[in-house]
C-alpha cells in the first residue's frame, strides 16, 4: 500500500509535526506513514484524511 500523504501535506504547507499534532499521533508515526512503512488503522487514516482535507481513497493507493 502506497500513499500520497507527503504530497497533500506539502500542498497544504504543514509540517510533519503539525500533522502529527492535528492527527493526535507522534511525529515518528507520520514519518513511517509517509515512507509507507506503516499501515494505519481506519481511524488514523480517516483522521489524517480529514486533516489534509481529502478522502481516504485519494490518500491511499490500495492496489499496490
Amino acid at each position: 500500500m502506497t500513499n500520497n500523504i507527503r504530497e497533500f501535506r506539502t500542498k497544504l504547507g504543514i509540517t510533519q509535526d503539525e500533522l502529527a499534532k492535528l492527527a493526535k499521533v507522534r511525529r515518528e508515526t507520520i514519518v513511517f506513514l509517509e515512507q509507507g512503512k506503516y499501515n494505519p488503522s481506519l481511524n488514523l487514516a480517516h483522521g489524517v484524511a480529514k486533516v489534509l482535507k481529502t478522502t481516504i481513497d485519494a490518500l491511499f493507493n490500495f492496489e499496490d
Binding site: 492535528l22 499521533v25 507522534r26 513511517f32 494505519p40
Partner: protein, 159 residues
C-alpha cells in the same frame, strides 16, 4: 483546530517528573525493605502509580499512539515466548542436575510454575481484551484498583 482542554503538563515536564518520582520511589522502597517493612513499599508503589497515571492524563502532547501500542503488543508477545522457551530449557537442565545441588530442583520448579503463571496471566488478559475491550477508562481504573486491593489484602494476610 487543536482541541482545547484543561490539561496542563508538557511531555518534557512529565518525563522529568516521572524520572524524579521513580528515583524517589527506588530510594524509599530500598530503604524500607532494608528496614524489613514490606507493607509501606506496596502502598507507596500504589500511590505513585496513581499519581503517574493522573499526570499522564494531564499531558498535552501524545505520549503513545496506535503504532506504539502495536509494537508494544508484538514485543510483549515475543518477550513472553522468549522467556518461556529459555525458562523451560533452563528448567530441564536444572532438573537434570538436581543431584549436583538439591537447590536446583527447587529452582526448576520455581521456573516451571512461573511459566505456568505467565501463561495464565497472558490468557486472562488476552480474554479480557478480546471480550471486554471498549469499556470506559473509569472501568479500567476500577478494575486496576480492585486487583490492587486484592493484592494488598493478600499481602496483609501473608505478612
Amino acid at each position: 483546530m487543536l482541541i482545547n482542554s484543561n490539561k496542563f503538563m508538557k511531555l518534557e515536564n512529565y518525563k522529568k517528573v516521572r524520572l524524579v518520582i521513580v528515583f524517589i520511589l527506588a530510594m524509599v522502597i530500598s530503604q524500607l525493605i532494608l528496614l524489613q517493612n514490606y507493607i509501606i513499599p506496596i502502598m507507596v508503589m500504589i500511590v505513585t502509580t496513581l499519581i503517574l497515571f493522573y499526570l499522564k492524563e494531564q499531558v498535552t502532547e501524545v505520549i503513545a499512539d496506535e503504532r506504539d501500542y502495536a509494537i508494544g503488543g508484538q514485543s510483549a508477545l515475543m518477550a513472553i515466548q522468549v522467556f518461556s522457551w529459555l525458562a523451560a530449557i533452563l528448567m530441564f537442565v536444572l532438573y537434570a542436575k538436581k543431584n549436583v545441588n538439591p537447590a536446583y530442583e527447587q529452582l526448576a520448579f520455581l521456573l516451571s510454575y512461573s511459566i505456568c503463571f505467565l501463561m495464565i496471566i497472558y490468557s486472562l488478559i488476552f480474554r479480557f481484551y478480546n471480550k471486554i475491550k471498549g469499556l470506559k477508562k473509569s472501568v479500567y481504573l476500577g478494575l486496576f484498583l480492585l486487583i490492587t486491593f486484592i493484592i494488598v489484602g493478600v499481602s496483609f494476610i501473608i505478612l
